[in-house]
Subunit: 408 residues, 2 copies
């Protein structure tokens, strides 16, 4: 078959075109943190549902305070007191003030609040036992008030589809009384390791053997992206065995990651196992990217299967740029950070490069120090704070240039 | 008592001084994602434990290839083949090459690998059936090889204490065979809401009432920071009742957050309930920060108790800058991002300001658009990507200045 080398963005498009609408389910608010919203969320009501004071003081009609000053206060009759959580027991008339706590509901007729610090107790007036307050500064209509619907109006879009919910989003949903949220189903991601030289993390490797890094790290990546990892172990380099495990993974999960070897032989094995699946279409075989060139993308029975490179850094970078966006859709739109590159990096035109970097602040801006090292060295990725992206049309980037950074 | 107003950094120091060493426990590697490492981790062994090829090709003694070219190849005898996961069945002698796959173990005597693309099959020689390979380019010692210990040497510090483990860190620990990790115990954080006007999220608020935003959002913040939230509900503004719930929370959790009202009356109530705790010391009462000035910090029986402001934005910002660093210690050291401010912000000297911003890339750098809005409006925090910090000694920041940003 033809070797279909695609750019990362072409690969993303081809994958997106094969995918149906993501399945959705309802999550209660207290389990919705980190879930991805399936459709735009609207506020069912005005929040708050009434005009609220943001200060301790006096609810007034602003017009009654115009022109007030320390030398010429506006004297208002204290006609009542607002209690927390209660409807005021009357209407505010011209010339009146109601004592009100922060968070209290404004009485009808009031349109502003005078802070208690800007008033003086004027005592009972000459006509009897009534209480009066001297207002020392004018307030504008709406001052020190949160208006009905100022946080959210009924019907306002409050959270966009594709957003992964953060604590403050949970707070906003609580404020609006949205107790159950339509979210994308968590994808179950099957992970298969391959390689005759790979031993389990708990085993002491013999000379010639190395421990399984990729399936362990990929499972953590899936978890960190909001998916559910399902491990199918490390399979020896035998086609029939690999085919059997792969068939089972495709049948029982939503998406499968094959962490193949890096040698030509084991890469062929991965590709043959994928091609042998029922209804398999290889979407691409080879990407114009470094690291991660030998990546395979396929769809089988409507499910995505990725053959990832064997070098751990390559596998994790490809996960980050190609797989993770399908678990966390908002990543597609995420704004990259910008940093000043501290040494020149070479890259071939027609290929995207992702280079590990450490970040720090220097001269008031973010600076990126490239970490050089073979893509077989997982320690280099653990030392990194992010990845610099060198775009397709660039032949590298010079020291001192501003570059795109993705935190990892 | 005296009103002790502190700066945020003084408050952090005072808190840190009252805390003992954090409790630790062991977590298995597959449950360690997101946990905070309790002490520096060292590699128990060299990784890899042998020299490994990073290419498909031929293991050689580099000296045998010096001067080789397309017109004058170096001819080497193919003396053996390295199998994946196996110790090579012999030693490489001068003038010999061993076929080797990516990931294969170099035979003794070999110090480099020639990529298969840089060789030609030279067929059997005139003397008999032996296989020969023509090397078309020289290789340097160490070329296309990961040396023993190149990923990590036995005794190397591989992860620093205080690091919150990311997927690539899990991968590195797997590579080194670290199967069980000493991590800080997850702190259980008790959360108490107060306020006569607050109703549960599932209840339709009557006029004058609002839904509980703070305890729901704080619980999500605790969860997102790796802690375990324990909710004690919303307590009406009654001192005795509040004291009882607070005592129970202090007795059964590691740290307590009181989300008090914003009116002077409810703030007094919060403070009195805290002061009534056994062995209570108020560390600060009032912070030189906006939003969040009326924050109270105390220690009671060795446990931290925070009285957070009632406005949701204030409560969440204070959580972010003051509480979260104790759940995720590495945040103390985290490099802030830098962005160009798109409009001027005012701030009083002697006070730190945290302003909500949206971020985007403009002219090759990160730009921050302030979101203005009262701190009672949770929607403003849901629209924000980060917080700009205006330091203590600044009187604001001008449009066009570079400022510190914390993602939220």
């Amino acid at each position: 078959m033809l070797f279909k080398t695609l750019t990362v963005s072409e690969a993303r498009k081809r994958i997106a075109n094969t995918l149906g609408a993501p399945a959705a389910e309802f999550a209660p608010l207290n389990e919705a943190l980190g879930r991805v919203v399936a459709e735009d969320l609207k506020s069912p009501e005005d929040v708050p549902s009434f005009d609220r004071s943001t200060m301790d003081g006096f609810a007034v009609s602003a017009a009654d305070t115009f022109g007030a000053s320390e030398s010429l206060p506006a004297y208002l009759r204290v006609a009542g007191e607002v209690l927390m959580g209660r409807v005021p027991g009357g209407v505010l008339d011209t010339g009146e003030a109601w004592a009100i706590p922060t968070g209290g509901m404004l009485p009808e007729g009031a349109d502003a609040v005078v802070m208690v610090e800007h008033t003086e107790n004027a005592g009972p007036d000459t006509r009897g036992a009534e209480k009066w307050v001297a207002v020392l500064r004018p307030v504008a209509p709406g001052e020190n008030v949160v208006r009905r619907g100022e946080d959210a109006r009924a019907g306002d879009k409050i959270i966009k589809a594709g957003r992964r919910l953060r604590p403050q989003d949970i707070g906003l949903l609580a404020a609006c009384g949205v107790n159950s949220i339509k979210v994308r189903k968590r994808l179950t991601v099957g992970i298969i390791g391959t390689g005759d030289e790979i031993v389990d993390v708990g085993v002491v490797p013999q000379p010639g053997q190395v421990r399984d890094v990729n399936t362990v790290a990929l499972a953590a990546m899936v978890e960190a992206s909001g998916g559910k990892p399902l491990l199918f172990g490390v399979v020896p380099d035998e086609l029939e065995l690999l085919q059997r495990v792969l068939r089972e993974a495709v049948a029982t999960t939503d998406l499968v990651l094959l962490s193949g070897g890096s040698s030509v032989g084991t890469r062929d094995l991965t590709l043959r196992a994928i091609e042998a699946l029922e209804q398999a279409t290889v979407l691409f075989h080879g990407l114009a990217v470094r690291p991660g060139k030998p990546t395979v993308g396929a769809v089988a029975g409507g499910k995505l299967v990725f053959g990832l490179p064997g070098h751990p850094v390559s596998a994790l970078v490809i996960f980050e740029i190609l797989v993770r966006p399908f678990l966390e859709p908002e990543l597609f739109e995420r704004v990259p950070l910008r940093a000043r590159l501290r040494r020149s990096l070479h890259s071939a035109a027609g290929r995207e490069d992702f280079v590990r970097v450490r970040l720090h602040v220097e001269n008031g801006e973010l600076a990126a120090d490239p970490i050089l090292g073979k893509s077989g060295l997982i320690a280099t990725l653990s030392r990194a704070d992010g990845l610099v992206r060198l775009p397709l049309d660039a032949e590298g980037a010079a020291a001192g240039e501003m570059v795109d950074i993705f935190l990892i």
